[in-house]
């Protein structure tokens, strides 16, 4: 029987894998995607249940170490103050993401030139701009044109509602003369491409039952499949194979029955996120690549970047209906985003205003903190907090440092015996100073908005949503893993399209940039099909 060799094999059906699959589908090449998880059923999401607040724990936790679904693999985080957040399914981490969708700034691509640290990207904002816009149209992104913190761009849908909470915070920012703007959000606020508009269910971070949150399973995948892309679920890739020429030949994977299988391919595209991708490459050793596939630079798994995340919560006298609306999307401030030499840190952060907690969350937090007592006074205290809290996330740019790594754990494995990733990470002094600044400014604006109590958390552990930098882009093969259009320097038919190729992290949620990059790389591939391996 002739061996089955597909034209393109994509590993991972998340944000970037889905985008690249859609883009390449028009070439009519035979494209197969292998995904270790399964399709999600929106009818199962917590927001469909009466006990939605508690249903979010357990199998909808952001941490795979808590969730332990069959598709999850364990992660050793003993040496990291930040825990990895991911989700393994068709749609990947977009199933649980908040859909907060701000772009990078032009300066984010020129950190070395402008600020003397880290490196410059081999591409710039202008190169990605059309792909940001294309992605916005493809998946449905809401926002408001005219933000002075960005070059002009026009989201296709109206912004998510600010609510009383947003208006209150807006007055606080205005009192201080600080920037704020309604957030770009991957949420459809009007009926869009056959999808219902957002109904403000609230718990977006545990899956959107309405289908308004623009996760990859309901945006790119239906389109890609209609165009002939074949998506196989319950297929966990163990390693990428190479031949004597150093070209990728395909993968070895475990199917839904844990049977070891092989899939040959002319081109392999890795889309497994900033932890999954280095894990796969490091596990793909051979005589030609004893230190892991595509790792002659030694940089695979290095320069891991999260966004160190601080938290500020304000409590207000008046009811704000703050627990209604898209949980993670309302407005943001980029007042302290660009480097200011008068500060004691480089680069900056964004202040992301998020909604308040539900009744159970409010009560549990209040009892834990002592704000809401037992017995007499319980109801009065509860009434002071419920519906009156506003949360703020401080998303701090993380500078690339080679000692922050993803490696293979020497003993921990997944259910197929594949070595688990081990995270080794420490928060830099620059990040600590930035976090401190953010906590102080966050407190300042909460009070300016009228908060009577402000509480802060200097570093949130369960906030490792953004997994970046571990297979970075660059012109120099000795200082990067892939080139300026995502092709491995070492393996000419191997491409990487997820957040691991980021050179710097920016100070914003990365998914819009991840998807724009994936589209850019796919477009670059299509332009070079005749000499793709040259």
């Amino acid at each position: 029987m002739a061996e089955d060799i597909v034209d393109v094999l994509i590993i991972g059906a998340g944000a970037s894998g889905a985008a690249v699959a859609w883009s390449l589908a028009e070439t009519r090449m035979r494209i197969v995607c292998l995904e270790q998880g399964d399709w999600m059923n929106p009818a199962d999401y917590p927001s469909t249940k009466r006990n939605w607040e508690t249903a979010r724990a357990g199998e909808y936790s952001i941490s795979p170490n808590v969730r332990r679904r069959p598709a999850d693999y364990p992660i050793n985080e003993d040496d990291s103050p930040i825990s990895v957040a991911n989700f393994n399914a068709v749609g990947g981490s977009t199933i649980l993401y908040a859909a907060h969708f701000p772009r990078f700034h032009p300066s984010d691509f020129r950190v070395r030139s402008l600020d003397g640290v880290a490196d410059d990207w081999p591409i710039d904002y202008a190169s990605l701009d059309p792909f940001y816009a294309q992605n916005d149209r493809n998946i449905g992104v809401a926002g408001l044109a005219g933000d002075p913190a960005y070059p002009p761009h026009e989201p296709p849908l109206p912004h998510v509602p600010l609510g009383l909470m947003g208006e209150t915070m807006a007055r606080g920012f205005n009192a201080l003369g600080w920037h704020w703007w309604p957030s770009d959000s991957a949420i459809v606020t009007r009926p869009y491409e056959g999808r219902e508009q957002c109904a403000n269910l609230g718990p977006c971070g545990s899956g959107c039952a309405t289908g308004a949150k623009s996760s990859a399973d309901i945006t790119y995948w239906p389109m890609a499949q209609r165009m002939g892309v074949e998506l196989k679920t319950h297929c966990r890739v163990r390693e990428i194979t190479v031949d004597e020429r150093g070209m990728a030949t395909g993968v070895i994977y475990y199917d839904e029955n844990d049977v070891e299988c092989r899939q040959r391919a002319e081109v392999v595209i890795v889309a497994c996120n900033g932890v999954g991708t280095p894990r796969l490459l490091l596990n793909s050793t051979s005589s030609g690549f004893p230190d892991g596939l595509a790792n002659r630079s030694g940089l695979v798994g290095k320069n891991l970047m999260f966004h160190p995340w601080g938290h500020v919560q304000g409590v207000f006298d008046e009811p704000l209906e703050s627990h209604y609306g898209p949980g993670g999307c309302c407005m943001l401030s980029q007042e302290f985003y660009e480097t200011d030499p008068n500060r004691d840190f480089l680069r900056g952060y964004n202040m992301q205003i998020t909604r308040g907690g539900g009744p159970i969350g409010t009560a549990m937090a209040g009892i834990t903190s002592g704000d809401i007592p037992w017995g007499a006074g319980h109801h009065e205290a509860f009434a002071k907090f419920f519906d009156r809290t506003v949360n703020m996330g401080l998303c701090c740019e993380d500078l690339p440092e080679e000692h922050n790594t993803v490696t293979l754990d020497p003993s921990l494995t997944d259910s197929n015996g594949i070595p688990a990733p081990k995270i080794t990470y420490r928060v830099s002094e620059n990040s600590r100073r930035m976090l401190q600044h953010g906590l102080e400014r966050g407190t300042e604006v909460m009070k300016a908005a009228g908060a009577w109590q402000v509480r802060t958390v200097p570093l949130v552990r369960m906030a490792g949503w953004h997994l970046l930098g571990t297979a970075r882009m660059g012109f120099d093969p000795e200082r990067s893993v892939v080139n300026e259009w995502g092709r491995s320097h070492d393996v000419r038919n191997l491409f990487i399209v997820d957040g691991s190729i980021f050179v710097t992290s920016g100070g914003v949620n990365p998914t819009t940039t991840i998807q724009a990059l994936a589209l850019y790389i796919a477009d670059s591939m299509k332009q070079r099909l005749a000499n793709l391996f040259d």
């Binding site: 999401y45 927001s47 469909t48 249940k49 009466r50 006990n51 939605w52 607040e53 508690t54 700034h105 032009p106 300066s107 020129r110 030139s113 402008l114 710039d124 408001l144 005219g146 002075p148 913190a149 070059p151 109206p158 912004h159 509602p161 600010l162 609510g163 009383l164 208006e167 807006a170 205005n174 003369g177 920037h179 704020w180 703007w181 309604p182 957002c198 109904a199 403000n200 269910l201 039952a209 309405t210 209906e321 209604y324 609306g325 980029q334 007042e335 985003y337 660009e338 539900g358 009744p359 159970i360 409010t362 009560a363 549990m364 009892i367 037992w374 017995g375 319980h378 109801h379 419920f386």
Partner: protein, 169 residues
């Protein structure tokens, strides 16, 4: 002869004495509001909630009896302390004495009481009567969702007036 109060009913995971002790503690954690709008935690089925949670743990592979056994043991311990310190069953003590005992336990070994408080408010704040008293609809968020004010965009005028604030490259 077995004290009838010690007999565990066929459909209750705790005895009558243990139930009375539990109800007294629940009433300490969340009493009824003074205006009667909000019920005591005694009235929202916390024991059923714990029993369901235990059954869920059993399904997940953890032993169900641990949760219920712990509950029984801790309630018995509390009742024993009441008899020793105040000469009577916990459920029959004056409210002040009950609170004194509970506060002592919370200070010296808070694990059980903290866990019970979390379970109690989890059950309490999803109960229909409580949600309706708070002005909420007792339903899942989906499919109706909620109305949220779009927002007064004239609040952006000062931001726009300050102009561009990103660096060129």
């Amino acid at each position: 002869m077995t004290d009838p109060d010690d007999i565990i009913g066929t459909d209750s995971p705790v005895s009558a004495v243990q139930r009375a002790t539990l109800d007294a503690v629940l009433n300490i954690i969340v009493p009824a509001s003074e205006d009667g709008r909000l019920p005591s935690a005694v009235e929202v089925g916390v024991l059923d909630h714990i029993r369901d949670a235990a059954a869920g743990d059993a399904v997940a592979g953890a032993p169900a009896h641990d949760l219920i056994d712990t509950l029984r043991e801790e309630l018995d311990r509390l009742d024993d302390q009441a008899r020793t310190q105040f000469g009577g069953a916990f459920a029959e003590l004056a409210a002040d004495d009950q609170e004194t005992l509970v506060d002592n336990i919370r200070s010296n070994d808070p694990r059980f009481m903290s866990g019970l408080a979390m379970v109690t408010v989890t059950c309490y704040y999803q109960h229909d009567r409580v949600l309706e008293a708070l002005g909420m609809e007792a339903r899942a968020p989906y499919p109706q969702g909620y109305e949220v004010l779009s927002g007064d965009l004239s609040l952006l005028d000062p931001v726009i007036q300050r102009g561009k604030r990103y660096r060129d490259t």
